[in-house]
């Protein structure tokens, strides 16, 4: 019937009830699920790093640089799914040149650049400067010059200068904490401020995004710490895992409470859209909301983490449980992003019906592309760990 848009024609037969004719196609697909997931990992990883730096949780020292480099790796990729999802990707720069003041999205470029340039890059640079200077003296050939270039020619490593490095680094971390909150709270605001969409429109959205970001970021750094230790054949310090697990437990409780509050509020107020949203969560979102996000991603990890707060027995078992918890939490947070982004587009704004979403495998908006954007940060992280190995830092403190 419609040769040009076979995927839309297929969806036509899956529509339930009545939807506005322009609503058949989902505007934001899997790439926009990936985007807040990645941004959340950045914010969460950074907050874990700042626990060590600002709040002096010394036990977390081995994860400090790892967390910063993880944050940087994911931040470098964060905008790419967004840009590749634009209908006019070549015009993406317009958002920086002529931002529209009243648009939540317009500020993203600036929040992003602030976070990348002022917070992460500067903090990492101050942190590594002494090591980079020493590496540039030790190495030969091209690597000598690489390190020379990234020190930006500042090779003074007198105690007084190093003290300044430390002070400035600390100062930036202090700025970085609210910045991380803004970065991800703001991503939540992009959704939470859309009054046309009752599934998104809640002032709790930025807070929900923030806490789920912290949960996912901390879980990701924990997993990376485990994997990196395994690859380096170094012994994994169970005390570090216990410390991360403790924070993860508390943040997950907060996250669960706030998301629960949001749902209870919806159910109790039962506004105009309630019946539609009820059908949505009991139908199309059942698996991803109740099973994937609720059970697998929240309740089971909560149970495991609660158990690990008390169980101090076999180390091997504890490590395995932490690893499983980390994976489950990441599945849960990814599902949460899915439920927000995709779930919010499955019902019609007429509140009279539902459209359908089928993610393709190939194409710019397909699963493979999304997987690519999710894997790419690990490649970047591997490169950064090779270039700036935390375990070879001077003075040795890893």
């Amino acid at each position: 019937m419609e040769p040009g848009y076979p995927h839309l024609t297929e969806i036509l037969s899956h529509i339930q009830g009545y939807i506005f004719p322009n609503e058949i196609d989902l505007q934001w697909g899997i790439l926009i699920v990936v985007y807040p997931f990645i941004t959340g990992l950045v914010a969460g990883a950074f907050i874990l790093a700042s626990l060590e730096r600002v709040f002096r949780v010394k036990i977390l020292k081995p994860t400090y640089q790892l967390a910063l480099l993880t944050a940087l790796s994911f931040l470098l990729v964060a905008t790419l799914p967004l840009i590749s999802h634009l209908a006019q990707p070549l015009r993406a720069y317009e958002i920086m040149i002529t931002p529209h003041g009243s648009s939540a999205m317009a500020i993203f470029g600036f929040v992003y650049l602030w976070y990348l340039m002022v917070v992460l890059l500067l903090e990492i640079w101050f942190d590594y400067r002494q090591s980079m200077v020493i590496w540039s003296q030790e190495k030969t050939g091209i690597m000598k010059w690489v390190y020379k270039i990234i020190t930006l020619g500042l090779s003074d490593i007198s105690p007084r200068t190093l003290e300044w490095d430390r002070k400035l680094g600390y100062f930036i971390t202090v700025i970085g904490i609210p910045s991380a909150f803004i970065l991800h709270g703001y991503v939540g605001f992009i959704f939470g401020s859309i009054k046309a969409n009752p599934w998104w429109s809640t002032p709790l959205m930025p807070i929900i995004f923030l806490f789920s970001a912290m949960v996912s970021g901390i879980a990701m750094v924990m997993l990376i710490y485990m994997v990196v230790s395994y690859i380096r054949t170094k012994d994994l310090d169970i005390n570090v895992l216990d410390a991360i697990g403790k924070y993860l437990f508390f943040v997950l409780i907060l996250d669960f409470t706030i998301e629960g509050l949001d749902q209870i509020h919806r159910i109790y107020e039962a506004e105009e859209s309630f019946e539609t949203i009820k059908l949505l969560v009991e139908g199309k979102l059942y698996l991803t909301l109740f099973i994937s996000q609720g059970l697998i991603g929240t309740l089971i990890p909560l149970g495991l983490l609660a158990f690990l707060q008390f169980y101090k027995g076999r180390i091997r078992l504890r490590k395995t449980l932490y690893f499983i918890t980390g994976i489950l939490i990441l599945i849960g947070v990814y599902s949460m992003r899915w439920n927000v982004v995709i779930g919010g587009q499955l019902f019609s704004k007429s509140f009279s019906g539902f459209t359908s979403f089928k993610v393709g495998l190939i194409g710019l908006d397909g699963t493979l592309m999304a997987a690519f954007w999710l894997i790419l940060p690990f490649g970047i992280l591997a490169f950064l760990l090779w270039l700036l190995p935390p375990w070879k830092m001077v003075p040795e403190d890893y």
């Binding site: 529209h100 648009s103 969409n197 587009q345």
Partner: protein, 262 residues
């Protein structure tokens, strides 16, 4: 040492200063009152444009007159280069059928372009009516608010437009429109929507959908001109906008709008 409160007050606030404070409060109160009064007018007539020399367009759709022929939707596609497939509409017609059991059936096959067939048996029908839909040309439009580059804007005449050469295709406006009036043009790869046939308005021609409506169910006009046909209609009829709770400043007024319509 104790001092009575009044003595303290007398010391602290001199009569001249008291007078000044009084008049300041009065002026502030009057200013707030005036603003409030002004905003009352805003709600009625969809804002007061800055440029008084141009019309400020509003639209009326009289549901009682619509026969569901779909000419409006068809002419719109022809006039405005809208893809023919049933996934892209600037303008469409919905058929509402309220059954005796209270349930409501809504359909809009191909936007109503090919007409409607009533599928509910006559004896089950409580009532049935048609509702044409199009951009509401809101003066506090959510789509304009969220556009990250300002490609969506309000023309001086109060028409919500998209700059094709500027839109980055982020689709945020499509998400923000509560009425489902926007789509991404599959060939031009930018947001697309009703422009009230701005190109025709500029030539003093009526929008295509209004031109072809056989029953005169659609009307547009200058809300600033208190003698215009549209203002007269608004005076004489009880009209309503869609989703008034969202406070979008819609300038599309429906006559005889049923509660079933969202």
């Amino acid at each position: 040492m104790s001092q009575s409160p009044s003595a303290m007050d007398n010391e602290r606030v001199k009569p001249s200063r008291r007078k000044f404070l009084k008049s300041a409060v009065t002026i502030a109160g009057a200013a707030i009152g005036y603003q409030w009064l002004k905003s009352g007018q805003y709600l009625l007539y969809g804002a007061d444009p800055e440029d008084k020399n141009v019309p400020w367009y509003g639209i009326v759709i009289d549901i009682e007159k619509c026969i569901g022929c779909g000419s409006c939707a068809k002419s719109c596609k022809m006039e405005n280069d809208v893809p023919k497939e049933p996934f892209f509409f600037r303008n469409w017609v919905e058929q509402y059928t309220v059954k005796n059991d209270g349930s409501v059936e809504i359909t809009s096959p191909n936007g109503g372009i090919d007409g409607f067939k009533q599928t509910v048996p006559d004896e089950e029908i409580f009532k049935s009516f048609f509702v044409p839909k199009m951009c509401n040309h809101c003066y506090k439009s959510p789509c304009e608010q969220v556009c990250p580059v300002g490609a969506t804007y309000l023309s001086p005449e109060g028409v919500v437009m998209v700059d094709d050469k500027y839109c980055i295709g982020c689709r945020y406006c499509v998400q923000a429109c509560p009425y489902g009036c926007r789509f991404i043009h599959p060939e031009r790869k930018v947001a697309s929507k009703c422009t009230l046939c701005y190109h025709r308005l500029k030539k003093n021609l009526a929008p295509a959908c209004m031109e072809v409506c056989p029953t005169g169910a659609r009307m547009y006009g200058n809300l600033r001109d208190k003698n215009s046909e549209i203002v007269k209609f608004l005076k004489e009829h009880t009209t309503q906008v869609l989703r008034p709770n969202l406070n979008t400043g819609s300038k599309l007024y429906y006559n005889a709008l049923g509660m079933e319509v969202k």
